[in-house]
């Protein structure tokens, strides 16, 4: 019974989701349900902040600084996508009350993921999260693209879960434990089976964070899913999977880091380079953002590959900045609307600075930030990553990182170019984006003024990592 107290936020959200599900059946007011969902997520944030640090269920579920910070980040991401949903539900044909509920279920899954300290808890969290996401991707039943995205995501996701489970069984077989800490104690560095297990689990997790070579689903799902859901994909699940990856590798296999480090090393380089080149050819903004997020995950993985405090700290800083930038980008994408139609092609942005000077200026700055140009926030994310890489003498990773960032600057600049240098098209709607402004302006201002006072983000990251190392 005692253990139940430690998963209070999760239980709370679960009850809320169930109640909302029943309420929604009778009360067809999507907006109200959405607002209640946002409210309960906020309550969950408060509950998380007031939780004692403990481990529950025989140490298979831990509540510590790391999980606290990541949970709050994830909840912010979920809240942001609910706000995006409410601003666009009517026009996107997704006026369905299940949306906020599925988001909550998925969020619970992610909260379990970042707290999981056991292979089984990890798998449960991962599946709860993924199943909700499969449904979400296919939410727009009338759209062929959306259904395709859902099916594709489901099939590939199921495959990756299979790989993951296979890896888990190997690890259990060769170490005799499922608990991360116990695996670490009983580890046999010589065991080949364990390595195979790690490889399969990493393949499964790499799929979830969409790192190359397990990234193929990303562009299609990003493009097919309705934009608020794409935003959700980009924001929360990757951060959760990253947290899980860190805990899995650091807690249980810290001793044999040499073995997994090279895998992370490789997928990090592959993600950065592939994303940098592949994004150049994109014409659809959501596909472009898919490749952009693959690239960003590549950078974040450098932080994991370092296997140092510094690396972990830089990873968290990077994820936070990544979250803020993506909130801004997707809020911007949703504001590209004219006569109830949404625009996703890069060429639709053409010359928009004539009609929307302020909005364009901010999004241009966000593009520069994504490209990592100082003095914007994105630069600091990369800066810390490179500091970590060079400190752990991974100069090669750092060099590939900067080269990839120069290449990727090209496609971010291309967006700026189209917005500023090309001939203007018709105006976009300005009125329907009131609730988006709530996301758009604060996040872009945070990105711009980040350099003045970066210490909060750094302190939070330092606070978070103390429970891992």
């Amino acid at each position: 019974m005692q253990s139940l107290v430690y998963i209070l936020p999760e239980i709370f959200l679960f009850i809320v989701a169930t109640v909302l599900l029943v309420t929604g059946l009778f009360l067809k007011n999507v907006k109200l349900i959405n607002s209640l969902a946002i409210f309960s997520l906020l309550v969950a944030v408060i509950l998380i902040l007031n939780q004692p640090f403990q481990s529950a269920f025989l140490n298979s579920f831990v509540v510590d600084e790391f999980s606290l910070v990541l949970k709050v980040i994830i909840l912010i991401g979920s809240i942001a996508s609910l706000i995006m949903f409410v601003s666009s539900k009517d026009d996107l044909n997704i006026n369905i009350y299940e949306f906020p509920i599925l988001i909550i279920f998925s969020t619970i899954g992610m909260m379990v993921m970042v707290s999981a300290n056991d292979l089984l808890a990890m798998f449960i969290g991962l599946e709860l999260q993924s199943l909700s996401l499969y449904v979400l991707a296919a939410l727009n039943r009338n759209s062929l693209l959306s259904s395709e995205a859902g099916i594709k995501y489901f099939i590939l996701g199921a495959l990756s879960s299979g790989l993951l489970l296979f890896g888990i069984s190997y690890i259990y077989g060769f170490s005799g434990n499922t608990n991360f800490n116990l695996i670490a104690v009983n580890i046999n560095p010589e065991s080949l089976g364990l390595i195979i297990g790690i490889v399969f689990v990493l393949a499964g997790l790499a799929f979830k964070v969409s790192a190359v070579p397990f990234h193929m689903w990303t562009p299609d799902v990003y493009q097919g899913a309705p934009t608020p859901i794409t935003g959700f994909f980009a924001l929360a699940p990757k951060i959760a999977a990253m947290g899980l990856l860190v805990r899995f590798l650091f807690n249980s296999f810290g001793e044999i880091y040499i073995d997994w480090q090279q895998i992370i090393f490789f997928i990090s380089i592959a993600s950065m380079m592939l994303a940098a080149f592949a994004a150049i050819a994109q014409t659809n903004l959501k596909r472009l953002m898919a490749y952009s997020s693959i690239g960003h995950i590549g950078y974040a993985l450098i932080g994991v590959a370092c296997f140092t405090d510094e690396g972990l700290r830089s990873l968290l800083i990077y994820l936070m900045i990544y979250l803020i930038m993506n909130i801004a980008v997707f809020a911007f994408l949703l504001s590209l609307k004219r006569n109830d139609g949404y625009f996703e092609n890069i060429s639709d942005l053409s010359g928009m600075h004539k009609n929307h000077p302020l909005r364009t200026m901010l999004i241009a700055l966000i593009m520069f930030s994504l490209a990592g140009i100082p003095p914007l926030a994105g630069f600091f994310g990369k800066f810390y990553i490179f500091v970590a890489a060079i400190e752990s003498e991974m100069l090669f990773l750092a060099i590939i990182g900067v080269v990839a960032s120069v290449i990727s600057a090209f496609y971010y600049l291309r967006i700026v170019k189209i917005m500023y240098f090309d001939e203007p098209k018709e105006e976009f709607d300005g009125s329907s984006i009131k609730s988006l402004n709530l996301l758009y302006y604060p996040s872009s201002i945070l990105i711009i003024i980040f350099f003045i006072y970066p210490s909060p983000v750094i302190n939070i990251s330092e606070y978070a990592i103390q429970s891992i190392i």
Binding site: L365, F383, I390, E391, Y420
Partner: protein
């Protein structure tokens, strides 16, 4: 330490100005005029404040003055500002050129005026920041940050091939600079600080120095620019609006020269000594090759752009002699080039505004229609080729003097550059100004307006003043330069 954080004020006045500008409407001619006036006054205010630096600057103190230091990112990386004799003139050059640029854009910028002025003010912030920062991360922040407004200035208000040029400019410079970023991080990790004052005292091993020096060099080489990485410059200059070219030639190129003096030779003296012959060779090649290229240009801006590369060759020659004369010469050459080439681009802008072409062959015989213009143009052309009595002479002379004392061969080759400079400059002048006025469309040309005279007057005065009486300038530069040279000597021994 002075009580008022004057450098921070200088850096952030344009930012405050940007907020003001954002509040001003921009929907008709009247309001865009208001915007221009506001921006001009903000920039001018900044200029006046920067002049107060000159008055409270202690000439006998070779150390950094007006120092400000606050904790910033974490221990070791702080918000550290300060200027000495090397940097003060660049700060003033910047604050002087920005109002001139804004004034020069009064007529030529027709659309998106607000964004244009905001870009310029943002650029001013970054440029002043570069010359004031005494922390490598802060320096990098300002150094790279300037790319954003410049990218927009060339890309939005530029000429026909503006997209190509601005991408080339941005990616070239970014690619050069990221290695400097890695070097800065390496320095941070191995010494625990990026504070320039501390690093100037720090001794890196020779191997470290060689690698770090190369990393810094890639960045500065692209920015200054040195042959063979200069190709972005003519493109950027040609396509940029007049004011963009002015600020590019006037200040942005100097950031790299300043970087060479402050960081390359200051922090990595062994490596600098090792690479000096290499730099000399590149500089001499740059001087001769780009001068020859300048000779065959059809486009006025391109010609001046290539001449900039040649002039910057003198700067690097001077800096890497490690003599007081050479470094002083380099600095004065940079200041002078900042004034003169800026003025030359303005001269091109004047005729471009009237005829909308930069092709040299389209002009000829302007002297009969535009006497004042011809006069100002002549002064700047003569200063550009280094005629005694103009500012161009002082710098070139000092540089050549110092290089003669190091290596005669390089000096001889460099001197041929002076001859070539005279050739292409005077030929340009002859083709545009002299001859008979036979082309029909030129009969519509009119002389300088009052606004243009206001722009040119301070530049003419400065050019001649520095040329005739360089003593005050040298007085400012000398103590700090001597200190730098002594430090290098001490470290090398």
């Amino acid at each position: 330490m002075s009580e008022i954080p004057i450098l921070s004020i200088l850096i952030f006045i344009p930012v405050v100005g940007i907020f003001f500008m954002l509040l001003i409407r921009n929907n008709d001619d009247q309001s865009s005029q208001n915007l221009k006036h506001t921006a001009l006054w903000i920039a001018f205010l900044n200029f006046i404040i920067s002049l107060s630096l000159l008055f409270s600057f202690d000439l006998n103190n070779p150390d950094f003055q007006f120092v400000e230091k606050y904790a910033w990112i974490e221990s070791g990386i702080s918000y550290h500002l300060g200027i000495d004799g090397v940097s003060i003139l660049f700060v003033i050059l910047t604050t002087m050129l920005v109002p001139i640029c804004i004034l020069a854009s009064y007529e030529s910028i027709k659309f998106s005026v607000k964004e244009y002025l905001i870009s310029f003010l943002a650029l001013e912030t970054f440029m002043i920041g570069v010359f004031c920062s005494l922390d490598l991360v802060l320096f990098y922040l300002f150094f790279e940050g300037g790319l954003i407004p410049m990218f927009l200035i060339i890309g939005i208000w530029g000429g026909e091939r503006r997209v190509y040029s601005t991408f080339k400019f941005f990616l070239y410079t970014l690619a050069g600079s990221v290695f400097m970023l890695l070097a800065i991080i390496y320095i941070f990790i191995s010494t625990g600080t990026t504070d320039v004052e501390t690093l100037l005292m720090y001794n890196f091993t020779t191997n470290e120095q060689l690698i770090l020096w190369i990393a810094f060099f890639t960045s500065f080489m692209v920015k200054i620019p040195m042959w063979p990485f200069h190709t972005w410059l003519p493109d950027a200059h040609v396509e940029a609006p007049t004011a963009g070219s002015v600020i590019l030639a006037g200040v942005l190129l100097k950031m790299a020269g300043y970087g060479f003096i402050r960081f390359s030779i200051g922090i990595f003296p062994d490596a600098s000594e090792f690479f000096a012959p290499f730099i000399f060779s590149l500089s001499v090649i740059a001087i001769i090759v780009t001068s020859l290229i300048a000779l065959v240009q059809e486009d006025m801006k391109k010609l001046i752009a290539y001449s900039s590369v040649a002039h910057m060759g003198f700067v690097t020659l001077g800096i890497f002699t490690f003599t007081v004369q050479g470094i002083e010469g380099g600095i004065i050459q940079m200041i002078s080039h900042g004034i003169v080439s800026a003025a030359l681009f303005l001269c091109v802008g004047v005729v471009y505004d009237r005829l909308h072409t930069r092709e040299i062959a389209r002009y000829g015989g302007l002297v009969s229609k535009m006497p004042f213009y011809s006069f100002s143009f002549m002064i700047f052309i003569l200063a550009s080729l280094g005629l005694p009595g103009t500012s161009g002479f002082v710098g070139e002379f000092l540089v050549l003097l110092s290089i003669f004392s190091i290596n005669t061969y390089f000096a001889i080759f460099a001197t041929t550059g002076v001859v070539l400079a005279a050739t292409y400059s005077l030929w340009l002048y002859r083709r545009i100004i002299f001859g008979a006025l036979i082309k029909d469309d030129l009969s519509e040309m009119f002389d300088l307006t009052r606004r243009e005279i206001i722009i040119f007057l301070p530049l003419i005065i400065l050019t001649i003043f520095i040329g005739l009486y360089p003593k005050p300038i040298i007085n400012i530069i000398e103590p700090s330069t001597e200190k730098i040279v002594n430090q290098i000597k001490m470290k090398l021994d």
